[in-house]
Subunit: 232 residues, 2 copies
């Protein structure tokens, strides 16, 4: 469990209203189990952050691609703020490490649920908007989100496995392996989990309804991780 | 056809970038038929305005209802920015009177299509945001949208016919009639159109998949019209 102080240092933003930051990283189950503590949980901030993200991303796309018609912009925006994309942003900052969650929910695997991880990112953006204003949010997204848009991560029909291979082969030959870790569930509702290895080093995980989707997810996550390193 | 000068006077906003206002009120079909004229059509502004509206409304609801949980806020927001609501805002300002549309599209009834009327409102908001900034948009919505939220127009399970009756009967007995004007389409995709009469005076129209929905829509539109008069 990391402190919110560490998070503020990581993103280089000092929150004027730290209570909002705390709220963004608090699950209702945590408040229920700690009745003596006052506090609010993240859900209302997630509601607000969702809209903040929608506008800041729309604004960015509108200006970045002056020639693209509305239909393309709408599809691209949807890809930039879908659950899978939010999980990538959140995991890059390891946001779930800062999240306060009740013991029952923790044991039920709540902290690693993708829907919750996506929510935390939105709540974080909502708190940032209220405490620091939209320009600080824009600057923050300029590090975490907009570079990925520029790199084409959310363009339609992306083949992340191919993109990853091209990316890594810039530095010469490389061995990429997708290892199947688990295959759960009934035939109509399968869940595959794979791990990506690069030159026998374990890298990212990927999950999905098919082995191919899981591999694509792992490749997408790896691309995000490499491209982030390049930017920092 | 009214001029955009008249619109600016009506809403008491002078656009610094009038070209954006012009773009918001131009259909692609108009540009196609007038090839000598330069210009852009409204669709990209609608993309942006949609997100501007989403944030300004979310922000308003978040502050206006500090005790409501996320689920209620999300439902209320959806009701405030759904097509039906946007049509109410747009018609109150008679926005489609300012819209430039090609002759073919005009003859096909394009100007009165609800989806297009809703789009025009979003495009108008998008142009206002780019030209004047988000605070001017907020002020504008403070006249056109937020009062309706306060009056409970978008609360779940609203029965507009009852609300309208209660509203009108404040001033004594009144005769309310919903006249069925048209019933089109095949059984699985019916379209009903009704007109509301108050004391034999024709008032608003309403459309919908059932007669009841059409009547509710007419009542909702009438409520909006009356409440707007009260506010001005």
């Amino acid at each position: 469990m990391k402190t919110l102080q560490a998070l503020q240092e990581q993103v280089q933003i000092t929150f004027k209203q730290e209570a909002l930051l705390e709220q963004a990283f608090t699950h209702a189950s945590y408040l229920n189990e700690n009745r003596t503590k006052e506090g609010k949980h993240y859900e209302r901030l997630e509601f607000l952050g969702d809209a903040v993200l929608e506008l800041t991303v729309s604004d960015y796309l509108f200006n970045r691609y002056p020639e693209r018609p509305e239909g393309q912009l709408t599809k691209l925006r949807a890809a930039c703020v879908c659950e899978g994309a939010l999980v990538i942003y959140a995991n890059e900052l390891q946001l779930s490490d800062y999240f306060r969650i009740g013991r029952g929910e923790e044991n039920a695997g709540g902290r690693t649920r993708e829907a919750l991880i996506a929510d935390i990112f939105e709540a974080f953006v909502g708190a940032m908007y209220l405490s620091e204003g939209i320009e600080v949010v824009r600057e923050f997204l300029g590090k975490v989100v907009f570079p990925k848009i520029d790199q084409g991560m959310f363009e339609a029909n992306n083949d992340y496995k191919t993109l990853l291979q091209e990316w890594l082969q810039q530095d010469g030959d490389i061995k990429i392996v997708y290892q199947l870790l688990a295959e759960d569930g009934p035939a109509h509702d399968k869940a595959f989990k794979v791990r990506l290895f690069v030159n026998d080093e374990p890298q990212t995980f990927g999950e999905g309804r098919t082995k191919k989707i899981a591999e694509q997810a792992a490749a997408q996550a790896a691309l995000a991780a490499y491209q982030t390193k390049i930017n920092n």
